[in-house]
């Protein structure tokens, strides 16, 4: 098999001492960057580009890619331990991961996150190796109507984030959609809801909003309760600090789910890892035997999104390396790096520079193994953070949040926004509105509105374009079915009741 030969070539490149060293440096740096909220892999890679000019190009891309997918491993750490999303794609991990930490299962959460990331990351690399060109061609068939249908499917997941009250979830989602409109409209260059603020012309900063709602909101809520010195239980013994075999068995589908959805969404330019993690979480909940437990600390609820955001990293490299099209911010910088080193990324890159592509692919296998080996033993160490008394932990959360949010754009305005969202998060908790639904609205709102307007531009205002195209029609049908599920369930339970009454 040709791919196998190429892979051997790749390993011969990747296993040289210098490439191994820089792979290790890249993934360690990536993990650190992922753990720290605010600082992201995009900015880090941009800052390190000048240093790479003196390196061999394959070594350089191995290191930079290591930062890229390594960050997806680290992002879950603060999400689970402190309810602070380390990366925007780790927002979903906060939902069940943090709850698991509160129940004393932080170790299991961190551990399964590392394992899921490894499995999905490796599947992503496999995909990149085996099906990158055909997948890229398939992804080209995704036009705005298909993106719209995908976003609607994502929003349909709100059904699964509803908790007790569907109305509250929908309201929260609508607020999220509104927040997404703030900023400059792409199509008409008009400003919307900016209240005259220059700083809002770019929209609400996503990190500021999520860190505010989750982390600051959490701190504010807990300030009320007069807890003891230790809020979180922590199981004793190393065995309890890692996922059990039962946990691994429970997550079988989650691993598959995360891998496939993450990789596929990653290959769609502009979709994003956050969308992938939401979709994966929603799907996991849909097929679960105990969907009502999601949000209270279910391990699959950590495994699925964490796997998705790792497979997404592999997927994002598909359009970059097979077509020269960057899918998101970080891949845009990797593209910039390739151009800076004198390459011309495009459809002929793999053919003309096989040692670059295959060396990178092989190094990603190695990198994922390195990350697993690095992250698993660190789990008990990280989990110790929770033994800190609350009067140390909460100021710590506060401090990390402020510094993290400030560091995104060097903007104090963002920090004020974070504070505002913290108050919002507090209110939402007190009134029992699901914050996840709001975040879902914010994440998908942009893409949804854009895709809808683009679709209508394509069809001259004919909205049936969304249903008549095969792919978008199918996705929309699935979304509608999902949305009808609660109604179907209700009807079924009425029927059961009716039968029982008669019987």
């Amino acid at each position: 098999m040709e791919a196998f030969d190429n892979l051997l070539l790749g390993f011969s490149v990747a296993l040289t001492p210098i490439n191994l060293f820089w792979c290790l440096v890249g993934v360690i740096l990536g993990t650190v960057v992922g753990v720290l909220p605010g600082l992201g892999p995009a900015a880090t890679i941009a800052m390190l580009l000048p240093l790479t000019l003196k390196m061999d190009h394959t070594t350089a891309i191995i290191a930079l890619a290591g930062i890229f997918y390594g960050a997806r491993y680290g992002g879950s750490t603060t999400s689970i331990l402190l309810n602070i999303p380390g990366e925007s794609s780790s927002v979903v991990t906060c939902l069940d991961g943090y709850q698991m930490a509160r129940q004393g299962r932080a170790g299991a959460a961190l551990g399964i996150s590392a394992i899921a990331s490894f499995v999905a990351g490796t599947v992503g690399v496999l995909g990149l190796m085996l099906i990158a060109p055909p997948l890229a061609r398939f992804a080209l068939r995704f036009a705005p109507p298909e993106y719209f249908a995908l976003m609607v499917l994502g929003l349909a997941m709100v059904v699964f984030l509803a908790g007790d009250s569907m109305v509250k979830a929908l309201l929260a989602m609508l607020v999220g959609l509104w927040l997404a409109t703030i900023g400059t409209d792409l199509f008409t260059a008009e400003s919307r809801f900016t209240f005259g603020q220059v700083k809002l012309l770019g929209g609400v900063d996503f990190i500021a909003a999520t860190v505010g709602i989750f982390a600051i909101g959490e701190v504010l809520v807990n300030l009320e309760s007069q807890g003891g010195a230790e809020i979180f239980k922590l199981s004793r013994g190393l065995r309890n600090l890692l996922p059990t075999l039962q946990d691994l068995k429970d997550c079988r589908f989650a691993f598959l789910n995360g891998s496939v959805i993450g990789f596929f969404i990653g290959a769609l330019p502009g979709a994003g890892a956050t969308v992938a993690s939401f979709l994966s979480y929603g799907l996991e909940k849909a097929v679960s035997r105990h969907p009502e437990k999601f949000g209270t600390g279910v391990i699959e609820g950590v495994a699925a999104p964490e796997g998705a955001n790792n497979a997404d990293a592999g997927g994002a490299l598909v359009p970059l390396l097979t077509l020269g099209i960057p899918g998101g911010n970080t891949t845009a910088i990797l593209l910039g790096g390739l151009i800076l080193w004198g390459y011309k990324p495009g459809p002929l890159l793999i053919q003309e520079h096989p040692q670059l592509f295959w060396g990178l692919v092989a190094s990603m296998y190695i990198g994922n193994v390195l990350l697993l080996v690095l992250n698993l033993p660190l789990v008990p160490l990280f989990a110790q953070i929770l033994r800190l008394p609350y009067y140390v932990l909460y100021p710590l959360i506060f401090g990390i949040s402020i510094v993290g949010v400030y560091s995104v754009n060097n903007s104090l305005f963002d920090v004020w926004m974070m504070g505002l969202f913290g108050l919002l998060g507090y209110l939402m908790r007190k009134l029992d509105f699901p914050a996840a639904a709001l975040i879902l609205g914010m994440v998908l709102g942009d893409g949804l509105e854009r895709a809808l307007r683009q679709s209508l531009m394509m069809s001259q205002g004919d909205i049936t374009i969304l249903a008549t195209r095969p792919i978008s029609g199918t996705l929309l049908l699935i979304a509608v079915t999902i949305l009808c599920l609660p109604a179907i369930r209700k009807v079924r339970s009425w029927r059961v009741e009716a039968v029982e009454r008669e019987g």
Binding site: A42, P326, M457
Partner: protein
């Protein structure tokens, strides 16, 4: 008595003249890290250019201190421009501008700063653009496309940026000159614009030759017109739009350097000197060639005139585009 009365003012006057002379001949030299403001996030066009220029300046030892790129994204260039304006009096900050720094304030009421408020230093790059179609499409030149557009008004589509972007403005100018109409679909990133063209969902796009280069080599794209005065060196077989009989004003995409408002003369002279030497270096020429940019070196009064003329031209074109022009 009389001598002292005369001596004192004379001494004072002499001392003042000498010290004024010193101040006049005092040169500016950066003594700490230099800030280079860009309006995109890491990875955006301006960001990559600024980082490359910073790297080359340091490599050629043209600046004694490090140049650090500072990303100030938001509202197009609005946040970056207001940040640069706030740095008035600060001598170690410069900003990298592009065409949107001129056009954006014309349509955005919240923008507090226009390019007239800032101090022009140098224009470095003129980015040419070309019109590309999918390689297997039936349009071999502009005439084919215009004919098809006439037969199917409002059916064909072009992918591009926002409606105030150069892509759309060129489209409007060409539509007006040829009496045709086709749709414009906005995509925020160049990657999406290209993928929609390759996927056949739009028929046309305005693209930089560097981006198109690899796609052409792979046989995916065909360039049917160059939006430049003369044919591009890398694409000698592609006629310009004027050669094909469509006479439209060409909107330049310029990139260069600005300083905070009312920058002191020594600072301006320093930077002009640096970039004058920079423009002559071999590594800059190599960079221009690699990226298929045109050397747009311009400084001083001609640069100010260029920016003013561009503002006037943009205002006209934007009004015709139907954008709300607020200043």
């Amino acid at each position: 008595m009389k001598l002292r009365t005369i001596l004192l003012p004379i001494t004072v006057a002499t001392v003042m003249a000498i010290s004024a002379g010193f101040a006049w001949s005092q040169e500016f030299k950066p003594s700490k890290q230099i800030e280079a403001v860009v309006h995109t996030g890491p990875g955006g066009g301006s960001d990559l250019l600024a980082r490359a220029i910073a790297e080359l300046l340091q490599k050629e030892k043209l600046i004694p201190q490090r140049m650090q790129v500072v990303n100030k994204p938001g509202g197009g260039p609005a946040v970056a421009m207001s940040y640069l304006a706030e740095k008035k009096g600060e001598t170690h900050t410069i900003g990298f501008f592009t065409g949107v720094w001129v056009t954006n304030p014309l349509t955005t009421a919240e923008a507090t700063v226009t390019v007239k408020d800032l101090t022009p230093i140098v224009r470095l790059v003129l980015e040419p653009a070309v019109i590309a179609v999918k390689a297997d499409s039936p349009y071999k030149n502009m005439k084919d496309f215009i004919d098809a557009a006439k037969k199917n008004p409002k059916q064909l589509a072009q992918s591009g940026g926002s409606i105030t972007s150069r892509d759309n403005l060129m489209r409007l100018l060409i539509q007006k000159a040829t009496g045709t109409q086709w749709n414009f679909i906005s995509f925020p990133s160049g990657g999406e614009r290209l993928s929609n063209l390759l996927g056949g969902h739009v028929q046309l796009m305005v693209i930089e030759p560097q981006e198109a280069g690899e796609q052409i080599r792979a046989g995916n794209l065909r360039v049917i017109a160059a939006l430049t005065e003369k044919r591009l060196a890398a694409l000698p077989n592609v006629p310009t739009i004027k050669e094909q009989g469509i006479d439209v004003p060409l909107i330049p995409q310029a990139r260069g350097v600005l300083a905070p408002p009312a920058a002191p003369r020594e600072v301006v002279q320093y930077w002009e000197g640096v970039f004058e030497r920079f423009e002559k270096t071999a590594s800059w020429k190599q960079y221009l060639e690699q990226n298929q940019f045109e050397d747009g070196y311009l400084k001083g009064p001609p640069l100010s005139k260029f920016l003013d003329d561009l503002t006037v031209q943009m205002r006209e074109v934007l009004k015709e585009a139907g954008a709300k022009v607020v200043r």
